[in-house]
């Protein structure tokens, strides 16, 4: 159940990192309290000719000084929803194009797949499950390289959001130790992120990692002699979690109620048993990677779609949702495709998937109207067919309500955001060392959830103010005393080190380009303001700004690095950064 990482080793690394950080902090604080505030710089105040507010892409700006603060804030707020995290330069670039233009450009970018990177690491290090780096980490290296360096940010991010809907995980050892398993899975999500939901659902259904994770690989038809029945696992979860949920939904995501005022279940156990018959007969498509190294056991290919073995597929008709029946006698793959279509056509999918993706990408408590607008886009509007993922993503990101997003940033994305916005560079553009501490300190890493129910429930709330308002906060479920210390220390470990992230192997050094902030370090207010724009979309509260400014000004202005580090550290752990939104 546990990933094969050397936790003891990593533990010693974090203490090294923190040790270095404490020395610097102490150094910073030993310098007395003489720093006083100065007049705020005007370089970032509105100085360009006022535009009409929304970016049109025609503003003739040539340098940062000319950009309006309003436009930069607007760009920063959009990009913190649509990317893993934007640098100051990317924010500036965004001010020159409209949201529609930006989206269209993202839709056109080629897919930056993860598998080629995994193959590169396999060529470099070979496949040795006892070696460092462990091949099970190669797909994580690929994630970091793409999340940080790839221009197709929106696609990478949508695929990431889909990993939290179609959840699989590297916690089972066979998935962890197969380096191509989850890179292939992520690539599958990337390929369909801007495609059609029906194709996405079919590809996920046939992916061998999903087959392993929800046990419909090697799922055989009923055997009356042995008294065995088809496995019900995928049949249940594909309905409960991936498509329609437990209750009939209105377009706006609210429950349809019966005359007694009760929600109406979408299926019962009999329907699950019918679907379980559909998902029989699938097995691995090929023999997998390095056969002699998989403990000498069965060695599945986790990067080739599963294939059908008709003789293990349950015969007979299957009674699906909405009275639809798969006829007796059709091919097994026709059964699978028919079941996927049956699910895809269910009226719940738009509001169910739409709301889940709004919660992952934008806001925890979308209004019913927002859900309805997104569900309508899913259902097909204008030229776009039902299930068009571009239409879905566009509707989610361009909705007026997206501008008032309120959500706790989950630890993993906080970390990715921080790293990306700190403008990391390495000699070859790879960042294999970056993810090492993240899971250890925060309990979270891409595709490493404890179960198919993800790291948190989309319905999580807690008694008190939240529940009284009828609000949920999924990410609050993993916001505990322990993880909050973990993410805080991850910020410290990243900022307070001389160079390079310590890793168990001699990976390329990663350096952060903080020159943009060093240039502002003399002027505490300008420094805090710029960090607030770039990192928090200008949503850092006034209270936080003033507290951070007071702290920064305790440090002599000549000590630029300490000023920048402290301003970043405090910003990145402040509640008004950790929680997307505005003060009420």
């Amino acid at each position: 159940m546990h990933v094969v990482l050397d936790m003891g080793f990593i533990r010693s690394i974090i203490w090294c990192c923190l040790g270095a950080g404490l020395i610097i902090l102490l150094g910073a604080c030993g310098g007395g309290s003489g720093g006083q505030s100065a007049e705020p710089t005007s370089s970032l105040q509105p100085s360009a000719p006022a535009t009409s507010g929304s970016s049109t892409g025609t503003v003739p700006t040539t340098s940062e000084q000319d950009l309006s603060r309003t436009d930069r804030v607007s760009a920063a707020q959009f990009l913190q929803l649509a990317t893993f995290g934007a640098t100051a330069a990317e924010i500036d670039a965004k001010t020159k194009v409209s949201v529609d233009e930006w989206l269209e450009a993202q839709f056109q970018l080629p897919i930056a797949r993860h598998t080629p990177i995994v193959n590169r690491y396999l060529q470099t290090y070979g496949y040795d499950i006892d070696a460092m780096p462990n091949p099970g980490t190669f797909r994580r290296f690929a994630f970091w390289e793409r999340a940080i360096g790839s221009p197709d940010q929106l696609r990478q991010l949508v695929a990431y959001a889909l990993t939290q809907v179609f959840v699989v995980s590297d916690r089972p050892t066979p998935i962890f130790v197969n380096p191509l398993a989850l890179s292939s899975y992520y690539d599958t999500l990337l390929e369909h992120s801007f495609g059609n939901f029906e194709d996405l659902l079919l590809a996920v259904t046939l992916h061998p990692v999903m087959g392993f994770y929800l046990s419909h690989v090697n799922n055989a038809k009923s055997d009356p002699v042995a008294n065995t029945f088809p496995d019900e696992n995928y049949a249940r979860e594909v309905m409960q979690l991936f498509t329609i949920g437990l209750y009939e939904l209105n377009l706006d995501g609210s429950w349809v109620l019966d005359p007694a005022g009760k929600p109406i279940p979408t299926y019962d156990n009999q329907v699950i048993r019918e679907f379980s018959k559909v998902f029989t007969g699938l097995s691995y498509g090929e023999t997998g990677y390095s056969p002699d190294l998989m403990f000498g056991k069965r060695n599945p290919a986790f990067n080739v779609p599963m294939v059908m073995f008709e003789e293990f597929h349950e015969l007979g008709e299957k009674r699906l949702l909405n009275g639809e029946v798969l006829p007796n006698g059709q091919s097994a793959m026709e059964d699978i495709q028919g079941a996927v279509k049956n699910l895809f056509q269910h009226a719940n999918v738009g509001p169910f998937i739409g709301k889940l993706l709004i919660q992952r990408l934008i806001t925890s408590n979308p209004s019913p109207a927002y859900v309805a607008r997104v569900a309508s886009a899913f259902n097909g509007e204008g030229e776009a067919p039902r299930g068009d993922m571009k239409a879905l993503v566009r509707a989610i990101l361009t909705d007026p309500e997206a501008a008032s997003a309120e959500r706790i940033r989950e630890p993993f994305r906080r970390y990715v955001h921080m790293i990306r916005a700190l403008e990391p560079t390495s000699e070859d553009g790879s960042y294999p060392g970056l993810g090492y501490l993240a899971q250890f300190l925060t309990g979270q890493h891409v595709l490493s959830a404890p179960s198919v129910f993800n790291f948190y429930s989309p319905a999580f709330t807690q008694p008190g103010e939240l529940e009284t308002l009828g609000w949920v906060s999924p990410e609050l479920q993993i916001t505990t005393e322990d993880t909050i210390v973990g993410i805080t220390n991850l910020v410290a470990a990243t900022l307070y080190r001389e160079q390079g992230l310590d890793t168990p192997i001699d990976f390329p050094d990663v350096t952060f380009n903080l020159s943009h902030y060093f240039a502002l370090a003399d002027e505490g207010e300008a420094l805090v303001d710029e960090i607030a724009i770039v990192f928090a979309g200008d949503q850092l509260s006034q209270a936080a700004r003033s507290i951070i400014l007071d702290a920064v000004e305790e440090i002599p202005a000549t000590n630029r690095q300490d000023r920048v580090n402290l301003a970043l550290y405090l910003t990145l752990i402040a509640p008004s950064y950790a929680v997307l939104g505005e003060d009420a």
Partner: protein, 455 residues
């Protein structure tokens, strides 16, 4: 939770000596309570071990006598354990004798020493439910029956007809917190993050790291500038609902974390050795915290730990062989540690899981079921017994609602009612504690556990 968080943080931080540089020993704890004799001590704790995923508990407690084993073998098919691998235990129901999964040697010993008991065919119910009423759809049933998301909650909330956000441990904590006046957040401690079991109306859980206990925020103890800025952020950067929820956790991480760290630094090392697996490590942390209960001023506590990965739709036998030794070690070593601390009779530990699983196989493993077996252990447990009626595994048993999914014959309400009384709370005096319990009083699914714990 919020009731304990709306304080002046600067004041409490000052009390802890954080701002004035006092540091060191906690000013409000008398050293004399260290090592106090517990013979007259009024301390009791419940430890909830969640086997997340739905452990196949019809392979934990298995009938051994010939006819019952034959039926078991016939129904389970390729999931049946070999008769000669079962660990015999000295109890019977009618003509049926029983054995344990071969990995449970520690639990076998605790059972034989009468420190552990099994509960059989127990599960969540909304109201007394007969097979006929179930089949006729005449009763309210747990929401999302047979599904993980709801059933894992049902065992924790024991209010399975709703999707409530509070759990039994949390609601019990609401009633007991006044007995833990020095450190309210010591009432509910989790080693596995947030959980609905310990979520109460006014109390929540304090989260510790299973490996490291209480971790420290980098720089907090060493930089005055950083520390005071962070404390001000917690106090003032809370301008909307979610920011307040976040700031409250950060507050608790620092404030309660400091108290715990100070107290734990005075904990005596235990002679009992724990295995290194994550579950056993978590149990070791619980034993450590219990050893400093007096420093924390705690007299009633719940602890929560998850051991996940039991959703064995595939390779059930192999996966259980892999996973049960850690469970067996962690539980038995924990009991040994409690004996070393002289407090085994003050702590009751129990397992819960999403559901039992289907008796019948899907050819590789088992699917989601309903009633199942639970383990309860502690010095107060009237052990060496099976509580409840182990079901006939016959396909014609009306309790079998399909593929060997068993309608529970004991409701979780009955178990938690017994726990409540042992902790000093009469459940019928507090209807919101166990909202459905009154419906089970005197009914077959609500009785039979009155002698589980010595009081």
């Amino acid at each position: 939770m919020s009731a304990f968080r709306r304080r002046d943080f600067l004041r409490s931080a000052s009390r802890l000596g954080l701002l004035t540089g006092l540091g060191g020993a906690l000013p409000f704890i008398h050293q004399s309570v260290l090592g106090a004799d517990d013979s007259d001590e009024d301390y009791r704790a419940l430890v909830c071990v969640l086997l997340a995923g739905g452990a196949d508990s019809f392979n934990l407690l298995v009938p051994r006598s010939q006819s019952a084993y034959s039926m078991y073998k016939a129904r389970r098919g390729d999931l049946a354990l070999d008769l000669n691998r079962l660990l015999p235990i000295g109890t019977e129901q009618g003509a049926t004798t029983f054995g344990l999964h071969p990995s449970l040697t520690g639990l076998q010993g605790l059972f034989e020493r009468q420190h552990g008991a099994w509960l059989t065919n127990i599960g969540p119910l909304v109201e007394p439910t007969s097979p006929d009423a179930f089949n006729a759809g005449q009763v309210d049933l747990p929401l999302g029956l047979f599904s993980h998301a709801d059933q894992i909650s049902s065992w924790q909330t024991v209010d399975p007809g709703t999707r409530t956000t509070t759990g039994f441990g949390g609601r019990l904590g609401d009633l007991l917190i006044n007995q833990n006046s020095q450190q309210p957040l010591a009432t509910s401690i989790t080693l596995s993050g947030s959980n609905v079991f310990q979520s109460g109306r006014s109390t929540g859980s304090y989260s510790m790291n299973a490996n490291e206990g209480v971790r420290t925020i980098g720089g907090f103890d060493d930089s005055d500038v950083f520390r005071s800025a962070l404390i001000r952020l917690i106090a003032d950067d809370r301008g909307n609902v979610l920011r307040r929820a976040y700031a409250d956790k950060l507050d608790s991480a620092i404030e309660t974390g400091t108290v715990f760290r100070e107290a734990l630094s005075q904990a005596q090392a235990l002679n009992t050795a724990f295995a290194a697996d994550p579950f056993s490590s978590a149990m070791a942390q619980i034993a450590r915290v219990m050893s400093i209960r007096q420093l924390l001023g705690a007299s009633r506590q719940t602890f929560f730990v998850t051991y996940g990965g039991w959703d064995h739709h595939e390779d059930t036998l192999g996966q259980m062989d892999n996973m049960l030794p850690a469970l067996d070690q962690g539980l038995s070593q924990f009991f040994t540690a409690l004996e070393e601390l002289g407090m085994s009779h003050q702590v009751t530990t129990f397992t819960i899981s999403d559901f039992g699983r289907t008796l019948t196989s899907n050819g590789k493993g088992s699917d989601h079921g309903w009633g199942g077996q639970a383990w309860v252990m502690g010095g107060a447990v009237n052990g060496g017994q099976i509580f409840g009626q182990y079901p006939e595994l016959d396909v014609d048993n009306p309790l079998d609602v399909g593929r060997g999914r068993f309608l529970p014959t004991t409701s979780v309400d009955a178990l938690y009612a017994e726990f409540s009384r042992w902790m000093g709370v009469e459940p019928l005096d507090h209807p919101s504690l166990l909202p459905n319990y009154a419906k089970f009083v005197g009914e077959s699914q609500g009785i039979g556990l009155e002698a589980l714990l010595a009081r």
